[in-house]
Amino acid sequence: MKVRFKVNGVEREIEVEPYELLADVLRERLGLKALKKGCWRGECGLCTILMDGEPVKSCIILAVEADGSEIYTVEGFSEDGRPSPLQESFIRNAGLQCGFCTPGFIVVGEYLARKPRISKEEVKYALSGTICRCTGYKQIVDAVLEAHQEYRKE
């Protein structure tokens, strides 16, 4: 089946089988290797992408379901190869250790940090669908809140 979607701002058209998962198509066919599959069953959140502006887990979505949608992976947030303000904030706050979960957290983090208003409690609750086994989350929450302040200035 033919699937047309916009990935990180670029129109793409690709032939897929109905049983191909969106995460696999983005990673293996479109080469977006920052996207990780951790649990393969919609629990860990590492494969999170923005689909039409909302964070979703791409390992439990069929590629054919993404037809006509607009997708952002972690690769889509940097500008001219420079890290986004949120990515800078993750570095400053040490919001990562091994880095495996980071692509998932950056995507959810961009979604949260760019909201007009968000509280610490809301950030913590919203991040509960993404799992990090190293940091203990405090640094990640701090990084998102600090980036939120910066995005608000823009």
Binding site: P18, R41, I61, V64, G129
Partner: protein, 303 residues
């Protein structure tokens, strides 16, 4: 890509744009078809080879199935493929509707996590047919009517008649859950939802409660629905009846909870997640806390 559970079994895919088309496909393929709404259940079940349909019918592009609409006097209508996050967002932008169906709002806004709520649908939550599905207790509380369709016609049922037990629905292979209709709750009512979730797993005891006109014995109404602790959702009418007796509503609570215990204790699940004794105790504790919370909200309003 050769890891077990990494890829899906092969299947055909159909994306009907009308209900009629979807029903024709279901009539044609019957048990060989599976309906895809949000996919959070179906796709994980297929990854684990619990189901291997010949054809997957994606119902998300059928506008009728995406409806979210409140009409004064008629109530709230939810298309089966309405996403959980779309429903809570609709309620957030219509606070009066959110307060009318508060127990449903509280249950839906705490399903799984942010990413899952952006995909999961109300119909998918209902049709997954596991005891802990979060929509069950509130739908029983609000006397939800489920509209089921097939090429042969339509019928209406209730959540407690529809969900028979784990993995068991009153749904023929050619039938589709189309919409869920929640009639207007009693005027001036308050409702809430509570669940006990050990670690990050699923609820072992869920309670939804509604209180209306607490001070007037003739018009007051208390509704209690439970799920997760029992194989299927239950409206505990035996306990609700206690509140029709004379006397102060607060003094009737203990008797009502005793009636709840005797009405459902034979049905409570005992498994490695939680003992039947614990589940029953948690139902009572949560019912008690909800009751106090709802009564307090009436008092606060009176100032």
């Amino acid at each position: 890509m050769s890891s077990p559970y990494a890829t899906l079994p092969e299947f055909e895919y159909a994306r009907p744009s009308t209900l009629e088309e979807a029903l024709k496909l279901l009539a044609k393929y019957g048990e060989e078809a599976k309906v895809l709404a949000g996919g959070v259940g179906l796709i994980t079940f297929m990854l684990e080879r619990l189901v291997s349909p010949r054809i997957v019918i994606d119902i998300k592009k059928i506008p009728e199935l995406r409806r979210i609409e409140y009409t004064e006097g008629k109530g709230l209508v939810l298309g089966a493929a309405a996403r959980i996050s779309e429903i809570t967002r609709y309620m957030d932008s219509n606070p009066r509707v959110r307060e009318k169906y508060r127990a449903l709002y509280e249950a839906l806004s705490r399903i799984a996590d942010l990413q899952i709520r952006n995909r999961a649908t109300i119909g998918g939550n209902i049709c997954e047919a596991l005891p802990f599905m979060d929509s069950y207790a509130p739908l029983a509380l609000f006397d939800a009517k489920l509209r089921i369709a097939s090429v042969e016609g339509e019928r209406e049922t209730t959540i407690t008649d529809f969900v028979k037990g784990p993995g068991f629905l009153d749904l023929a292979p050619n039938e589709l859950l189309v919409s869920i209709e929640l009639p207007d709750p009693p005027r001036e009512s308050r409702s809430g939802f509570s669940k006990i979730v050990p670690a990050i797993e699923y609820s072992v005891a869920s309670v939804a409660m509604l209180v209306a006109n607490p001070v007037d014995p003739r018009s007051r109404e208390v509704r209690i629905a439970v799920s997760a602790a029992t194989p299927a959702p239950i409206r505990v009418r035996e306990a609700e009846e206690v509140f029709r007796r004379e006397g102060d509503i607060v003094d009737l609570l203990d008797a009502a909870l005793d009636r709840m215990t005797s009405a459902i204790k034979e049905l409570v699940i005992e498994d490695p997640y939680a003992s039947a004794e614990y589940r029953l105790e948690m139902l009572k504790v949560q019912a008690y806390i909800l009751f106090k919370r709802l009564l307090d909200s009436f008092l606060q309003e009176r100032g």
